[in-house]
Symmetry: C2
Subunit: 535 residues, 2 copies
């Protein structure tokens, strides 16, 4: 039986929730990452790389879904029976790194990191078990200017990637304000008996988009039965408490249409008034006024608003106005570890949802202030703030907008092998092309002419070089432009006409190959048509 099983061949398949990334997507992704990297660098962040896994105890458990603290992570034992876990984000390894090297690091410590992270979760559409994040964090300062800077960095990144102003918004809130409002309605957020209640309230607000006010009211009160009949227990608040929270969650200035947003983005035109040591845009002061009434005399709430006012002053001074940044009570962020300002970068252009209706593209990144991550190791509080971009999601958005797609043929020039005895000659042609910076290869398979042409098409080659007996006798080669050829063959329906016309095919002397190929490639780049699009 065991012997028989050994002969069964394994099935070649990817584990579910994982994906391979092919050439054109890798190129497009790398172009995007280069733009982001350049922005993070220019803001003064330095790169850091940590390994894929850490000791499980050092990594800790800070996954968004706190209901299942022991799940969601891939863990394994090494040869010494030590438990290791694949990183589930880039923040937990940063905390380990900072704690390990605290004394020698510049303070504040400013690093960016990009790389894959892993979640042991049920995958779904667009939800993978390996995905890439791009993070910037400033560790070791309470200065709210560090938070403001991250919001501006996020906006600058999106614009550098080609997303027009008016098509995105950086939404900003402060966890302290919600705590202030809880205090004002008699729920002490730091009372250990209320930890669960606070979390339930946070999550209820987080669902505003999906459940609307009515659903959130139920989750803040007795609870809610969803369409499938499942009952979610509520926070158990009284009607007047619920009303205060709903009122809070509804405050924000966010222009309703792209047109209004672009108008608001011409921020100089909006009236501004002095406040908190500097001017801020009046749209924001209105939001702050409503919040001040709601937090009443709560110290933590007042402090939270003051922090956002400081950020607003810095935004205003750099002319980042309400067309780009919105102070918005509905931004909650899932992670429990945030302690101050939280922010979210949202793309506001509409796409079709599963039913064909219009929905906003939504969040492509977020972050906020957290104080406890390094404290786990050091026993002292190390204030920090960070921003994380969901790379795959942002890339999907950019592809949807047609950014970072490149026309032209990305493949190499293929030198066909017409005579197996003349490999050295064909190899020389490929080498000459390479020496001029042109991607090229001699066909290294063993098939005939027809298969070689098919191969060149599949490789998205810009052209092929052909030297058979006739061309050799004349001291020439034939160059066949595959992009032009495929375009013409799409137009020509008559097979005879096609063969006679031999479109997009021409001869040059052996010494003129490089120059001729350069012309073909330049012409294709100009016409911006890829081989793939035609085929």
């Amino acid at each position: 039986m065991a012997r028989k099983q050994k002969q069964i061949r394994p099935k070649a398949r990817l584990p579910k929730g994982l994906r391979d990334i092919s050439a054109s997507e890798i190129r497009s992704l790398n172009r995007m990452l280069d733009v982001i990297r350049r922005q993070f660098e220019i803001y003064g962040f330095e790169p850091l790389e940590t390994p894929a896994f850490e000791y499980t105890d050092a990594l800790g458990k800070f996954l968004p879904d706190q209901d299942r603290p022991n799940e969601g992570v891939f863990s394994f034992e090494d040869e010494d029976n030590q438990w290791l876990s694949l990183r589930y984000d880039l923040t937990a390894p940063l905390a380990r790194y900072v704690a390990e090297h605290y004394d020698v690091l510049p303070k504040p410590f400013r690093r960016y990191q990009t790389g894959p992270v892993w979640r042991n979760e049920k995958p779904g559409p667009g939800r993978f078990r390996q995905f890439t994040q791009f993070d910037a964090d400033t560790v070791g300062t309470t200065n709210i200017a560090a938070d403001a800077e991250l919001c501006m960095l996020a906006a600058d990144c999106l614009e550098a990637l080609g997303i027009p102003r008016g098509n995105y918004v950086i939404r900003v809130n402060n966890r302290k304000i919600l705590d202030g409002i809880l205090e004002s309605i008699g729920v002490d957020p730091h009372d250990t008996d209320h930890v669960g209640k606070r979390l339930t309230i946070l999550r209820a607000i987080d669902k505003l988009d999906r459940l609307e006010i009515k659903g959130v009211e139920l989750l803040l009160g007795k609870g809610r039965k969803d369409e499938s009949g499942d009952f979610t227990k509520g926070a158990g608040l009284e009607p007047d408490q619920i009303s205060t929270i709903i009122q809070y969650s509804q405050t924000s200035y966010f222009a309703d249409t792209p047109k209004l947003r672009i108008q608001a983005a011409a921020e100089g035109e909006l009236p501004s008034e002095p406040m908190a040591g500097g001017k801020i845009f009046s749209a924001w002061s209105k939001t702050f006024s409503v919040w001040k009434k709601l937090v009443s005399s709560s110290e933590i709430g007042i402090q939270g608003i003051a922090e956002l006012e400081k950020m607003a002053v810095l935004f205003t001074a750099s002319n980042f106005g309400p067309g780009r940044i919105s102070f918005d009570a509905s931004v909650v962020r899932g992670l429990d570890y945030y302690t101050g300002p939280v922010f979210e970068a949202e793309l506001t252009h509409e796409i079709e949802d599963e039913d064909g209706g219009p929905v906003r593209f939504g969040s492509v990144g977020g972050g906020g202030r957290y104080d406890g991550l390094v404290e786990r190791f050091k026993g002292i509080e190390v204030p920090a703030t960070g921003f994380s971009i969901g790379v795959s999601r942002l890339h999907a958005a950019l592809q949807h907008l047609g950014e970072f797609e490149k026309g032209g043929s990305e493949g190499p020039v293929i030198v066909l092998v017409m005579d197996r005895e003349r490999l050295t000659d064909y190899q020389k042609m490929a080498r000459d092309l390479r020496a001029s910076g042109i991607r090229a290869e001699m066909y290294v398979g063993t098939s005939g002419m027809r298969a070689q042409m098919k191969y060149a098409d599949k490789r998205r080659a810009p052209c092929v070089i052909i030297q058979g007996e006739d061309e050799l006798a004349r001291g020439e080669v034939t160059i066949k432009d595959l992009v032009e050829g495929n375009r013409l063959s799409a137009e020509i329906t008559d097979n005879k006409e096609w063969r006679e016309g031999r479109p997009a095919q021409f001869s040059v002397g052996e010494g003129e190959i490089v120059e001729a190929v350069q012309k073909v490639i330049a012409r294709q780049a100009d016409s911006n048509v890829s081989n793939q699009e035609i085929l």
Copy 2:
């Protein structure tokens, strides 16, 4: 007890055998990877990315150390109790990918991939449990031109990275020749009873460098007791069999000194003669003659030599001669899955070993032809050949040679915060610098002037911008060149002289900051002195 344990703080430490990579190494590594990527691209290979882990059965077990087939890999279960393993190389995932998409891939399929791989092994000096590989493979062809091309690619890569001709060699052998020699001495390599014996012989030859002829003779014969007294069982060959194998393992043309190698690298001067359908360098024909005698009438051995002769013809035609490529019987490669030509890229410059003696830097990559990897899934043999660069090892060699190190200050310009009430002004200065493409940040910590200067030094800032009360009154800022300042302060021993001289510090009008900083940075780049070197 459980309660008490919960209060113990985890220790912030990296798992053994792993490492963090900091900013300057990341930048240097990325410059190196860009050069390699460019070479692989220009040879016509396309990028592919596969995820970090695979189903354990799909990955298979092809680790070099076949004595412990069940170890060496990190494995874990997912939520569905399926076994997964972190990839231990980039070839096994390639085999899965090719088998999964066989019908739609261009054939031959040519891809390159770079990324981390993981080994669950005892780490040692320079041996990590996560390290980076950079692979190119051509799958689906028996054409030996594909193997020849990889050797030339390896040589072109090393030269593009700045390693001079004469300081490296690509060593080439063919597993089939060894099998031919085994046949000629009466050991049938395909007899299942001889599988272990063949492997023992392979490994013995692989140890030539370390154990020299005497030690290898023992391993081919009765066995060998090492210095610690451990006994390794030998292959049990007779003296005349051993003598044939030793004679084989000693054949190669490899010039003894860098000077001779550079001479040999001027390959046009070496005589060449027609052979196997084309000319090859005579140094190689001598090697092939010796091998032909040794394999005698063994068909597999004759075939192996004929393959290398074909490669030699292609090398000769492209003027890759014995100064760059050596046919060398001592190249064995550890992995059992190779079936044809094997190759290794070795750096020949000498470094000091642990005892201060001179040793060659050694191997930085290798590869060869393998036929069985895809067959596991498909049941049909899919011939393939590949080359893999050990990225960390190659980078260490380049650092040793002083390549890819960059002078100058890599940090951002720091705008000091002299007055906490004027953050908006300082922020504006940072933004103006960024708008001109200069890395810059306003100090976002909360400490005073002295700590801010120390911070700027640690960040390797090229200069700081200072605007206190006095400068503000004059409408100016002070710019302090940290590189020049540290250089001067190293020269000036008298503290009074230092304070009066205020070296490398000057004032400019508020409108001239960008221009002045550009000049400072250009001057530093010219003098090619980094802040770090002085400090």
